[in-house]
């Protein structure tokens, strides 16, 4: 079965320091990978997604970047953290499923345990 790991689970960093959050998936190959952020009192917001090694799409402009050095590894980074980067970061994976009768692609995203980042 597939599993998804994220680390660290919690992180406290000073403003201006770098960031590296890691996500790995086991039990599947060529997954789509996603980074989401949940700020206090808000729903999850998609930050980046990747459909393959080295392929990154950004959904919102921000202080963060993502990389996918291996098929099942997705990294979220920052060179200099801001206070506003605090939040709960979730990694997710999906694999495109069967095409429905109407020609639509179905896929379900499965989430990791998350990293709670506090920037002070």
């Amino acid at each position: 079965s597939q599993t998804i790991h994220q680390w660290p689970a919690t992180l406290v960093q000073p403003v201006g320091s770098p960031l590296s959050l890691e996500c790995t998936v086991e039990g599947t190959s060529n997954p789509n990978l996603y980074w989401y952020r949940q700020a206090a009192g808000r729903g999850l917001q998609l930050l980046f997604y990747s459909v393959g090694i080295g392929q990154i799409s950004s959904e919102v402009p921000q202080n963060l970047s993502a990389s996918r050095p291996q098929d099942r590894q997705f990294i979220l980074s920052s060179k200099k953290l801001l206070l506003s980067d605090s939040g709960f970061y979730l990694c997710a994976w999906s694999v495109f499923g069967s095409v429905a009768g109407e020609g639509h692609v179905q896929d379900t995203q499965y989430f990791g345990p998350g990293t709670r980042l506090t920037v002070l």
Partner: protein
């Protein structure tokens, strides 16, 4: 713009009461719909999903949801809640073929034994 609204922020019920959590979405196209649940201290987990076909979908642990296209709604229901259903529930919408999953802000359910 795409959006998902969950009108109930915190719901408190006694055990055996019936549950209905509202979810309305705004999206200009065909959608996939999801309910996720996050139990205290655990991962966000898929509760149920709708892709096509029968608009009444059944998920795990006795939950079900009904997609009403004309109302842009996907409400979650359970006829009799248990203390173990205490969790946060998130509705999410994705356009078919799109990558972005749009989430509501979540509804916290507290079930009193």
């Amino acid at each position: 713009a795409q959006s998902v609204s969950q009108h109930n922020h915190h719901v408190i019920l006694s055990e055996a009461a019936s549950l209905e959590l509202g979810c309305n979405y705004s999206y200009g196209g065909t959608v996939n719909l999801f309910w996720y649940v996050q139990y205290p201290g655990q991962h966000l987990q898929l509760l149920l999903k709708y892709f096509s076909g029968d608009p009444l979908v059944k998920g795990i642990k006795g939950f079900e949801a009904e997609f009403i296209k004309s109302k842009f709604s996907f409400n979650l229901r359970k006829p009799s809640v248990q203390w173990s259903d205490t969790a946060e529930y998130f509705c999410a919408v994705k356009g078919t073929g799109a990558n972005n999953l749009f989430f509501g802000t979540g509804t916290r359910l507290t079930v009193i034994p």
